[in-house]
Symmetry: C2
Subunit: 232 residues, 2 copies
């Protein structure tokens, strides 16, 4: 099954850009009349046929189009401090996309050792995971945001996962299924007590993700697992 | 907190081997009277003090010893085909160790592109995850086994996760909490229908790990997550 990500598709014809045309003709060796599938990243899933195969511009004609393909019953936004070793954050993006996530915001916290994230490169990783796992919805990756800015904005069911002492709930206890969730995951070294208090003041509920001591990227994935699992 | 993995500890004194002695003295710069912690991989957690710091042999004296540290209420054995790209399998070992697993067997299946696994190297990855996530139990990594050999041996609650058509349960539906579980995870390209039938004939229940199309290593981690979550 040959899948292309075509966010700019409109109507019933589509022209692959030069890079994808080359891939389609030179690598996959597809020809006129061959069948391909397209996803637009907004829930659209298309069956299309190659009309004109050309390594510079290959033209496709849509035969069938379904909307809200694989739509989930909830919305998950994880705001997480990018890890010092960016590969671990990239790995989180790939796995969270496979399991199911809608929006990701790289958070810059007081103890963040990494204070930037190259979203263009990270988006490519998400896109290949989207294609690999056949998702018609492409998770949105936001530009990095400072912690204080972020927590004052978010709405919905809000949670902060941290490793400090104090009362914590599990998502199972306090999550309302079918909702919109925002979950904060701290950097290596966790949030500061001050950051935790600010989040609580903004209406975030402190949560625990179990008894294991998890790395930042594992905690993010555990949250992703739990939200998807509890919404099945 | 300085943690050492000491599987061969006996009694109240312990001598770090040359590699760890060097690490202790040269890297961590620890000296006589400094506090360190030890795990034996079998549930033993020790508080010890450096008696004699030496880059070739550093001697420790145990001050406190607790057993069954962080013992879980279940036993999870995942038998999974090593991925073509071994990094993905290594990643699974690290994450499964963080989340909670007891035994791993690399499975050689009909469609396995990788038919070997260097367990010495893989065990080092598990050990560092054990230390990083403060686990007193060290997961057991077995040597690779051929599929047919493996499925005829295992006991307990047995499941096979696959992507083919047919009746499947979720772990939530058919798993009995507090038990011993063996879960089979196939290679890229899945098990063959014949392999599936053989497992069913051996008493394995076919399970689904949700609606997402998951890579081999993600499926393994999803199974690990579900078992731990359902046993909380």
């Amino acid at each position: 099954m040959h899948l292309f990500y075509t966010p700019d598709i409109k109507g019933s014809d589509y022209e692959l850009n030069e890079e994808e045309s080359r891939h389609c003709v030179k690598v996959l060796r597809l020809q006129a009349n061959d069948l391909v599938f397209l996803i637009d990243g907004r829930g659209g899933f298309y069956r299309a046929r190659i009309v004109h195969s050309n390594p510079k511009k290959t033209v496709l004609s849509v035969e069938e189009h379904s909307t809200e393909y694989g739509k989930r019953n909830h919305f998950l936004h994880i705001a997480m401090a990018p890890t010092k070793n960016i590969e671990r954050f990239e790995w989180f993006l790939e796995k969270a996309t496979e399991i199911g996530i809608d929006e990701i915001t790289p958070l810059i916290c007081e103890r963040s050792e990494r204070r930037e994230a190259k979203t263009a490169r990270l988006n490519k990783i998400i896109t290949s995971a989207v294609k690999q796992s056949l998702k018609a919805y492409h998770p949105v990756l936001n530009e990095p945001v400072k912690y204080k800015q972020f927590i004052n904005k978010v709405e919905e069911q809000k949670f902060i996962a941290h490793c400090m002492e104090g009362d914590k709930f599990s998502l199972k206890q306090c999550m309302i299924p079918g909702g919109r969730y925002t979950i904060l995951i701290g950097p290596e070294g966790d949030f500061t007590p001050g950051e935790l208090q600010e989040a609580v003041d903004c209406g975030f509920r402190p949560i625990s993700l179990g008894n294991s001591r998890l790395r930042t990227e594992t905690a993010g994935l555990e949250a992703c697992f739990e939200v998807n699992f509890l919404n099945r």
